[in-house]
């Protein structure tokens, strides 16, 4: 490799005559190549390509202690209880003891995989997902504009039939669990996501379920 300079250029010896040595036109490129690859390796290893992405979350405002109006009753809600790598849920209102004709709330277990929570949410939030499909088709056929599409999508997520989700975490849940769950909710086009504090009785129920 190193003796590239010799190649080809006819260097015959002429007897007697003194001639200035013909220097080859080719330069030894090896050191330059070495350097080029060194730089290449350096930049490949140090560069970060993708800028970090962000996932936005809107938290409910803290209730004003002077505001005595009762919080609005939520219908069509599902509550997720998150603990370390495990996920439980119940639908509708929470009853710690049987009230009226409603039995006490029982927790159902699910998981973070596509067959668990994703399927569950897709079933429960059918009306929005179906509506979105229709809008997608309209957008594809250029029947509506981009801005109209976005506005209609937001309206759709606010509809009465749309699923509302409450997230409660215990003291063992990790941030990864939480973000995975929120991610699933975004996949399922859930408009109302509310992370709220867990009730003591719910915590008891959760603990008994984990054991």
């Amino acid at each position: 490799m190193a003796d590239m300079g010799e190649g080809g250029s006819g260097g015959g010896h002429d007897k007697g005559k003194k001639r200035a040595k013909k220097s080859s036109t080719r330069v030894d490129m090896t050191p330059m190549v070495d350097l080029a690859f060194l730089l290449l390796t350096f930049f490949v290893l140090t560069s970060t390509f993708s800028k970090p992405k962000v996932m936005s979350m809107v938290y409910p405002a803290k209730p004003d202690p002077l505001d005595l109006t009762k919080p609005p009753k939520i219908n069509n809600a599902i509550t997720f209880l998150v603990t370390e790598d495990k996920l439980f849920y119940y639908t509708g209102q929470y009853y710690s003891v049987p009230t009226g004709d409603k039995p006490a709330t029982v927790l159902e277990e699910t998981n973070f995989g596509p067959k668990g929570v994703r399927k569950l949410l897709a079933d429960l939030n059918k009306s929005v997902l179906r509506g979105k499909e229709g809008l997608d088709k309209q957008l594809e056929n250029k029947e509506i504009q981009d801005s109209t599409y976005l506005r209609k999508l937001i309206d759709l997520k606010k509809e009465k039939e749309a699923l509302k989700v409450l997230i409660k975490t215990d003291d063992k849940a990790t941030c990864k669990n939480f973000i995975d769950l929120v991610d699933e909710l975004k996949i399922a086009e859930i408009g109302v996501i509310a992370p709220v504090d867990i009730l003591a009785s719910e915590l008891e129920l959760l603990k008994s379920k984990i054991k």
Partner: protein, 220 residues
């Protein structure tokens, strides 16, 4: 018997195309590279399908695996204003040099009382120094002050930038210049730590938060 003659070929190869390619790649990586700024805290963020790129004017709170809290702000001008307000409030004296250092520093996590010593360290040593993070308990909620004054400072610089863009004949949106609040949490950190920080934000009526995530493919 006739011998088969193998034509002698030179052992050296023409490297020019390879070199061309190597330099092309070097140039590409050099121009496209954005360097990671060295951070004193390691945070391994979880992934999500979100494809929103991190905004320009941000207040960034990092929470590491052990639940220590760190603070950072993107705009140097705003940082200067912030630290001036903070030393006024906590009655701590900083030299002009220390203020300059703060202005061009990255993420930090120490109490106000430790700040002068922390600023005197050089960037490498800051990484190894073991701080407890910014305190945020209800008796000594320094994080709340950082966020409160940071928000004001970032709003001011945002407004200046907005006016400037307007003078340049652009049609800027005020919302793009307002500070955004970013949480960079480690996936392994317990959510309660994040919840404490979120509650500080909510106490200040800042309810719109963003989590830094790495990208993952959306399911079809």
């Amino acid at each position: 018997m006739p011998k088969i003659k193998i034509p002698k070929s030179s052992p050296s190869i023409d490297m020019t195309p390879m070199v061309d390619l190597a330099f092309l790649l070097v140039t590409f990586f050099m121009l496209s590279a954005s360097f990671r700024s060295s951070e004193p805290v390691e945070v391994d963020v979880p992934s999500s399908i979100s494809d929103k790129i991190i905004p320009e004017n941000v207040l960034l709170v990092s929470i590491d695996k052990g639940g220590r809290v760190f603070f950072n702000m993107s705009d140097p001008e705003a940082r200067r204003e912030l630290v001036t307000n903070m030393i006024g409030k906590y009655k701590i004296n900083l030299t002009q040099e220390q203020i300059d250092k703060f202005t061009y520093m990255t993420t930090f996590g120490c109490t106000m009382q430790e700040l002068p010593q922390y600023l005197d360290l050089d960037a490498e040593k800051r990484k190894s120094v073991n701080t407890k993070g910014i305190p945020l308990d209800s008796l000594n909620n320094q994080l709340q002050d950082w966020i409160y004054y940071g928000n004001i400072a970032a709003l001011n610089t945002g407004k200046t930038n907005y006016e400037e863009a307007k003078l340049n004949g652009e049609a800027p949106e005020m919302n793009d210049f307002k500070p955004k609040f970013i949480l960079r949490v480690d996936g392994k950190a317990v959510y309660v730590h994040a919840q404490n920080v979120i509650n500080v934000f909510r106490d200040l009526k800042l309810n719109n938060l963003n989590f830094v995530t790495s990208m993952e493919m959306a399911p079809l």
